[in-house]
C-alpha cells in the first residue's frame, strides 16, 4: 500500500464517518460542522484526482459560503438546542431500510461494471488554465446564463427574506 492509497482510504473513512455524523448528531450546529468536515474530505479527493481548481472552489463555495449561511440561519433562529422533536422509531427505521435497500440495489448493479483504473499519473486537465480555456470557449453561453441565474436567486432571496407589511410589529429591541 503506497502513500496514494493510504491517503485515499483515510479520506474515504473521514468522508463516510463525517456524513454519518451529519445525520446522527442531535445538535444542528454539530451537524453543520460535520458537513464541513465531509466537504473537506471530498476536496481532498479532488486534489487526489488532480482537480485542484474544483478542490479550491469546493472549499471556498461550499465550506466557506454555503455552510456559513447555514450556521447563520441556525444561530439566528436559536435552533442550537438539543430539543428537536424526533420522528418515531418506526419511521426512522423505515428511512434507514429504504436508504439501505437503495444502496444495496445500486451496489449489486454496479459490482460487475467496468473496472477501469484511474491511473495515478498527473494529468493537467483540472488546472485553472485548461479549465478556464474550456469554460470561456466551449461553455461561455452557459456561464453567462449562470450569472443571470445568480441575479434572479439574489433578488428572490431578498424578496422572500423581507418582512411582509401585514405582519404584526415586533417589539423594539426584540
Amino acid at each position: 500500500m503506497n502513500a496514494y492509497e493510504l491517503i485515499f482510504w483515510l479520506l474515504t473513512v473521514m468522508a463516510i464517518s463525517c456524513a454519518l455524523g451529519v445525520i446522527l448528531s442531535r445538535n444542528p450546529v454539530s451537524s453543520v460542522l460535520f458537513l464541513i468536515a465531509t466537504f473537506f474530505a471530498v476536496s481532498g479527493h479532488y486534489i487526489l484526482m488532480n482537480a485542484q481548481f474544483l478542490a479550491i472552489v469546493n472549499i471556498i463555495v461550499y465550506a466557506g459560503a454555503i455552510m456559513v449561511l447555514f450556521l447563520f440561519v441556525i444561530m439566528l433562529m436559536n435552533l442550537n438546542a438539543d430539543t428537536e422533536p424526533q420522528k418515531n422509531r418506526l419511521v426512522q427505521l423505515a428511512g434507514v431500510v429504504s436508504g439501505g435497500i437503495l444502496f444495496l440495489v445500486i451496489l449489486a448493479a454496479l459490482k460487475s461494471s467496468t473496472n477501469n483504473m484511474l491511473e495515478q499519473t498527473a494529468t493537467d486537465i483540472g488546472l485553472i488554465k485548461n479549465l478556464g480555456k474550456t469554460l470561456f470557449t466551449q461553455f461561455v453561453l452557459p456561464f453567462e446564463i449562470a450569472s443571470v441565474l445568480f441575479l434572479s436567486a439574489m433578488i428572490g432571496a431578498v424578496v422572500l427574506g423581507k418582512k411582509g407589511e401585514e405582519e404584526p410589529q415586533t417589539p423594539k429591541g426584540a
Binding site: T12, A15, I16, A19, V22, I23, S31, T38, F39, V42, H45, M49, A51, F53, L54, N58, V61, Y62, I66, L69, F70, V73, M77, L79, E84, P85, Q86, K87, Q92, G95, V96, S98, G99, G100, F103, I106, L107, L110, T114, N115, N116, M117, L118, T123, I125, G126, N130, L131, Q138, F139, A146, L149, F150, S152, A153, G156, A157, V158, L160, K163
Partner: protein, 99 residues
C-alpha cells in the same frame, strides 16, 4: 485506483444523504442532506472526468456548484420565512403550507 472505489464511495455518501432526508424532521438538516447528495454526485463526475481525461465533466461540476449556491440562498430564505410564520422548522408542522 479502480473507478469502482469512487463509485462505491459516492454511492455510500448518496445513500447516507437519502437516509438523513427520510429520518430527520428538522428542515435545515434535510436541506443539508440534499447538499450531501449533490456533493456525492460531483465527486463521481470528477472521477469519470479523470477516467476519460475530459475537462467537460469538471465544467459541469462547476456549474452544479453554482446552481447549488443559488438553491441554498433561495431555500434558506424560504425556511426563514416559514420560521417567521409558524415559529418552527419542523416539517410535520410545515406540511400544511397554510395556517
Amino acid at each position: 485506483m479502480p473507478i469502482q472505489y469512487y463509485l462505491f464511495l459516492s454511492l455510500a455518501l448518496f445513500s447516507i444523504g437519502i437516509m438523513g432526508t427520510l429520518m430527520r424532521r428538522n428542515a435545515i438538516i434535510i436541506f443539508m442532506c440534499i447538499e450531501l447528495m449533490l456533493n456525492a454526485v460531483n465527486l463521481l463526475l470528477v472521477a469519470f472526468s479523470k477516467m476519460y481525461n475530459d475537462p467537460s465533466a469538471q465544467i459541469f461540476v462547476f456549474f452544479s456548484m453554482v446552481v447549488a449556491a443559488a438553491e441554498v440562498a433561495v431555500g434558506l430564505a424560504i425556511i426563514v420565512m416559514m420560521y417567521r410564520k409558524v415559529h418552527s422548522v419542523d416539517i410535520n408542522i410545515l406540511n400544511r403550507l397554510k395556517h
